[in-house]
């Protein structure tokens, strides 16, 4: 994972999408069994550009534009995998998973198990999640939904470095991986990322299932992922001026969930706030807190809290959206409240 100082780097003027496309390209060069199927992945190179250049590089047999037939082309991923290929299926927005969830959770996730280990499913489902102001059907995260269903690894990178390394790891994995990009980050330039903005040109992986501390602090641990890492870092800067020293842990993977890392951090700071842009109930925040308490014991921490989308669809109006989706201001407020409790 460490990179030598003389490693050639991608230009800071690249956006995150270009980094992801670069990661896929390198893996496709190394493994000709990788094929990419999805809407707008070919001629356009993805609605956010995260498959740009792939069809030109590898032809339309390996990188193919699909009709709006998610059930069919997600199911094709199953058959391709069983025929020895390593398909990457793009579901444009994670919100559309409803129409093909059947193939995802009943076949991709379960075939390895049902076959007694005889049929691996090296399938990557690449999809964009997160809020972009487009209301109830286009602004969800849903990583908790996949995580609840057994058999899938789930990753949601926050930084360009991790986006590339986790994509490479996903494409090399023999297990199914749900790779969730954040719609709100894909067009950001590398230079604008607060962490992990330096991306080597060559191939490397970031291990699936390992969290990373992106900011050290003494008073409280924020565990979060995806675009909320950026918001948590902004909140942490603000809180530093108010005498609260925040540690920020980027989970990076939801499955496997690195509860050990979070528990170690929380044990040091004494307080844990889980921030999740996904729905609050029955999801990542409850799971993580439970696992941390299982590791540390019920009385180990001075304070525990969680901050997520409190079981309400994402509303259209900006005023309503800001009231339900965590942002840097609401994260800072949640930290202050946690600290004020003692």
């Amino acid at each position: 994972m460490t990179t030598a100082t003389d490693t050639p780097m991608l230009s800071p003027s690249f956006n995150l999408s270009r980094v992801i496309a670069d990661a896929i390209k390198l893996e496709m060069e190394a493994d000709e069994r990788i094929v990419v199927l999805g809407e707008d992945v070919g001629r356009q190179g993805g609605v956010f550009g995260s498959t740009r250049g792939l069809q030109k590089a590898f032809g339309d047999r390996r990188v193919r534009d699909m009709p709006i037939s998610e059930m069919a082309f997600t199911g094709m991923g199953v058959g391709l995998a069983m025929s020895g290929y390593r398909p990457m299926i793009e579901i444009m927005f994670v919100d559309f998973i409803g129409v093909c969830l059947e193939q995802v959770y009943n076949a991709i996730a379960k075939n390895p198990y049902m076959s007694g280990g005889r049929v691996p499913m090296p399938v990557v489902i690449k999809t964009a999640g997160g809020c972009i102001g487009s209301a109830a059907q286009h602004s969800q995260c849903l990583w908790g939904t996949f995580a609840h269903l057994p058999g899938m690894h789930v990753v949601a990178p926050s930084s360009p470095y991790d986006a590339k390394g986790l994509m490479a790891a996903a494409l090399r994995s023999d297990d199914p991986v749900i790779y969730i990009e954040h719609k709100g980050l894909l067009l950001s330039k590398l230079g604008d990322f607060p962490h992990g903005a330096e991306v080597p040109k060559g191939r490397y992986t970031v291990p699936i299932g390992e969290a990373a501390t992106v900011r050290d602090g003494r008073d409280v641990t924020i565990a979060t992922l995806s675009a909320s890492v950026r918001d948590a870092l902004v909140a942490a800067d603000e809180l530093a001026g108010q005498g609260i020293d925040v540690e920020v842990v980027d989970l990076r993977s939801v499955v496997p969930l690195d509860a050990d890392h979070v528990a170690a951090s929380a044990a040091r700071t004494g307080r844990l706030l889980v921030v999740d842009e996904d729905y609050l109930g029955f999801g990542l925040s409850g799971e993580l807190i439970t696992r941390v308490l299982e590791l540390l014991g019920p009385g180990a921490l001075r304070g525990i809290a969680r901050h997520g989308v409190a079981n309400v669809p994402i509303p259209a109006a900006r005023s309503l959206e800001q009231a339900v989706v965590p942002g840097s201001a609401s994260i800072a407020a949640a930290v202050r409240e946690l600290v004020a409790r003692g």
């Binding site: 707008d40 009709p67 037939s69 059930m71 259209a316 109006a317 309503l320």
Partner: protein
């Protein structure tokens, strides 16, 4: 069942000006989500005007404004919803892709292909009610390749339900050319579902009206489902902000010749209608939308404390 060209021209102007008002909301940041307009496709919605009753259902897509207008949804609450205002059709909770006007059985969804199953439910309700109401589902040429399209039309054909599928064929599903990923056209699929099917020039409102009225009349008489495919061009990117690099400048120029408003105006002039009169119509339509837009702009966004209303009928999450 057709109206005169002058009337169609006015309907098309209203839709165009409405869409342009929406564009101004994106530019100003008042609309902060995705916006899809049907600029270039106005003749299809205009051709639907006057054919449906309030008790006929219309289920539309992400590109839905013209259909709402054709169904008689009042312009001001519709624009206010698109502008995310508390005075909107849905109080600002739904937004542009999620318009609901239950009084006129008009609804929309942002999930491609999700219109047909819902319209099929309306059609079955009409059957249960013993009513002669019909249900219309709108789809793009991309939406016809979803599983829901096939499943719904099969069921409608098997049960002879009054489902009319209006396919707006603008050739493209974002950057994908639909003919490259479709085994056959949409109208050609009709026989597979024991449905009536036809393809019309969707830049000609009268042609759309004739075909759509026929489909609705057949469904009302209990003769089962229909597919009406209307061809037109989408002038703008898929959504506002789409760089639209997948279509060449030459293609865009050729598309511009298919502007239904330009075509209609040329025809009206050929009929001897004076330019001044036509200019007056344009100004009148613009003024009407401008007045609505001003009121919409002055309205408030919903109060954030209400964000948890409506999750359940009781109001509280």
């Amino acid at each position: 069942m057709t109206l005169d060209l002058m009337t169609y021209y006015r309907h098309m102007l209203r839709i165009r000006h409405f869409e342009e008002a929406c564009l101004s909301g994106v530019a100003s940041g008042e609309i902060h989500g995705e916006l899809h307009t049907a600029i270039g496709q106005e003749a299809i919605a205009a051709g639907m005007v006057g054919i449906l009753r309030d008790d006929d259902a219309l289920v539309s897509t992400h590109r839905n404004h013209g259909h709402g207008i054709a169904k008689g949804v009042p312009l001001e609450p519709m624009l206010a919803e698109i502008f995310e205002k508390e005075t909107g059709l849905c109080g600002g909770f739904g937004g542009h892709m999620h318009l609901f006007d239950p009084d006129r059985l008009f609804s929309t969804t942002g999930i491609v292909g999700a219109t047909l199953p819902v319209a099929l439910g309306h059609a079955y309700a009409a059957f249960l009610d013993g009513s002669d109401a019909v249900a219309v589902a709108v789809s793009g040429d991309g939406g016809v390749n979803t599983g829901g399209f096939h499943e719904s039309l099969n069921l409608a054909g098997a049960l002879k339900l009054p489902l009319v599928v209006l396919v707006e064929n603008n050739d493209w599903a974002i950057s994908v050319v639909s003919s490259e990923v479709s085994a056959v056209g949409s109208a050609e699929r009709a026989p597979a579902y024991a449905a009536w099917g036809t393809r019309v020039d969707g830049t000609d409102p009268a042609a759309v009206a004739v075909a759509f009225a026929e489909a609705v009349a057949r469904a009302r008489r209990g003769e089962g489902p229909a597919i009406v495919e209307a061809t037109a061009q989408r002038f703008r990117g898929h959504y506002e902000g789409d760089p639209d690099l997948y279509r060449t400048p030459e293609l865009k120029e050729a598309m511009a010749a298919k502007d239904p408003l330009v075509i209609a105006r040329r025809e009206l002039e050929a009929q001897g209608i004076g330019t001044d009169h036509l200019d007056d119509l344009v100004a009148e339509s613009q003024a009407q939308i401008d007045a609505i837009l001003a009121r919409v702009r002055a309205a408030e966004q919903p109060d954030p404390s209400r964000a948890h209303d409506h999750v359940f009928t009781g109001g509280v999450a």
